[in-house]
Amino acid sequence: MGIVRKTFGNVARSDIAGVVSAVVVFSLFLAVTTAGFATLFNLDSLSRTIAITTIVGFAQLSVLSIGHFNLALGPMGALGAVCAGALMEDFGVPVVLSILAGILLGTLAGAVQGGLIVKTGINPFVITLSLYSVYLGGVTAVTKAKFYSHMPQAFNNIGIVSVLDVPLLFIVALAIGIVLWILTARTAFGRQLLATGANPAAAQFSGIPTQRVIVTAHAASGCLAAAAGILLASRLGSAQISIGNDWMLVSFAAPVLGGTILSGGKVSVIGTIFGAVLMSLITNALVLTGVSYFWFQSFLGAILLAAFAIDRARLAYIRGMK
């Protein structure tokens, strides 16, 4: 641990300054060295990827705040997307209602997850792992893995349009980020959330309704995951059950890179955004430099490991300060 601490000590102390400077430095590096990075087309596409990655990171952030992991995040995204897609394509339900229904389903899935954790006392890891299977299996079985690709153009436009050259997706992600920041940093609920994460027993003795907090955190996670799934479906022009199947790694990497501590009690919304930006930049760089798609996984895994090492160093530093 000592070597880890010395190596990452500086980064630990600076918190989000670390990830912000990494983003800035890396962006400049790419702009200068890689052809095709600084083009309008690439930046436009990149910002859309960042938008969705950010919301996925937010979804995991919701439960990281209380020290839990949402392993069923991907399937919750698929649930939202496929529900909305099915409603629009098979039943002709209006776009807005379908989107709301999809988000509601995701929220419900998260609430059920939180409820199970609170009411049964079973290890949260087992519950989210099992629900991963239940939700993904359930949506696959109900829809028979159908591909929804004939959704109304109005829906697909969400993923395509821009406002003053800024993609709508990006604006939505930023708006969600602002709401989350206000919630966690400026409201009583946010304080309850972080208190529950830092020390559940102490939180309960202080009168915080920890059970309600936990259910709400998981419900929020499901809500955001479903939103991310729906936005992705809009961008892709198709809703399918494979949405979210590669979210697990990224959902942890973004918050961790941005300063959120995995044991709960400390979150950074802004950090998560920059973490998502960094992850997307790296993927973009890999694509632009022609690295074979097959090696992407290795890169992302290595990044997550580095992020975690920094996280541990941060934790050790904070503990050392007391």
Binding site: M1, V4, F69, L116, T120, G121, I122, N123, F125, V126, I127, L129, S130, L131, Y132, S133, V134, Y135, L136, G137, G138, T140, A141, K144, A145, M248, L249, F252, V256, L262, S263, S292, F294, W295, F296, Q297, S298, F299, L300, G301, A302, L304, L305, F308, A309, R312, A316
Partner: protein, 342 residues
Amino acid sequence: MMDSTAERGAPKRSFASASNLESILQSSSGGVLLAVAILGIILGLTTKDFFSAVNFVVLARSFSVMAVVGLAQMIIIGTGGMNLSVGAIGGLAGVATGGVMDALGYSPALAIPAGLCVGALCGLVNGWLITRLGVSGVTSFLVTLASGSVFTGINLGITRANPFYNLPADFRLIGSLKIAGIPLLLFLMLGLALALALMFRYLGLGRQLLALGGNITAAELSGVPINRVVITSHVLCGVLAAFAAILLTSRLGSAQPDVGKDWLLPSFAAPIIGGTSLAGGKVSVAGAVLGAILLAVISNGLVFLSIDVYWNQFIQGIIILAAVGLDRVRTISAERLERRQA
């Protein structure tokens, strides 16, 4: 019987009960055995061909592989951690074995040890990283989440998602050979299970593994070399994952890069259903094997009952929840009983 626990205060169900039958039924393995028996009987009565010799062979080959996967995860759960990269290790080891035979032209006698070494190496990486970053459940979660991605990446990078098809006949024989109508895979799995059970019961390493899972601080204070035990457990887990992949590859007849892709849930489900506690410190080898059998019977049964195979994943999730829920109920009522008696 085949349950091992390092907790001195644990309910001595197996030893203190009046009859052996009673103790078997009371243990978690007994519950699973009962479930398997009941399910098997129902399926045998309601469908044609479930009890046929052909189906038995299919079932046996299927659960033998998954039982090894479950045992691999069980080792890590016993130490209080988790390994999300078992599937990735399996995939990489499988293609490594296949590649040594197909691309490099060596015999299985070289390829199989090579595959096992790949598994051991992956486990070594996991164990080393975990000890470096501070042994804990959270650490093992994140390290193996990341390393799983790295291993899969290496797998895909080497194979470009193309399987190795030209495997020697004597390698493929392992997966297809039958002795007195019973697949060789089953014997291999049972042999491994027996070895593991003996290790946990009689070998110092086994007790150290469980001590680590039971209470890491107490273990450390008792002189258990934490880092060495963590690394050893992950190396063992990696070797077992590789072994499972080699068995599966032999059965499939080709080395597929996506081996292990869907191992994550079953690797936890089998041991947990079988009574291994996720908190660590208690494992059940027989339970893990029976858990794998239960899951295989369910999958198999769905096919016979003409239920959409898509429901398989859903049902597996429900089963784990039910199994853990039942275990929780049992634990709570046992605690209540103890409190009343005190």
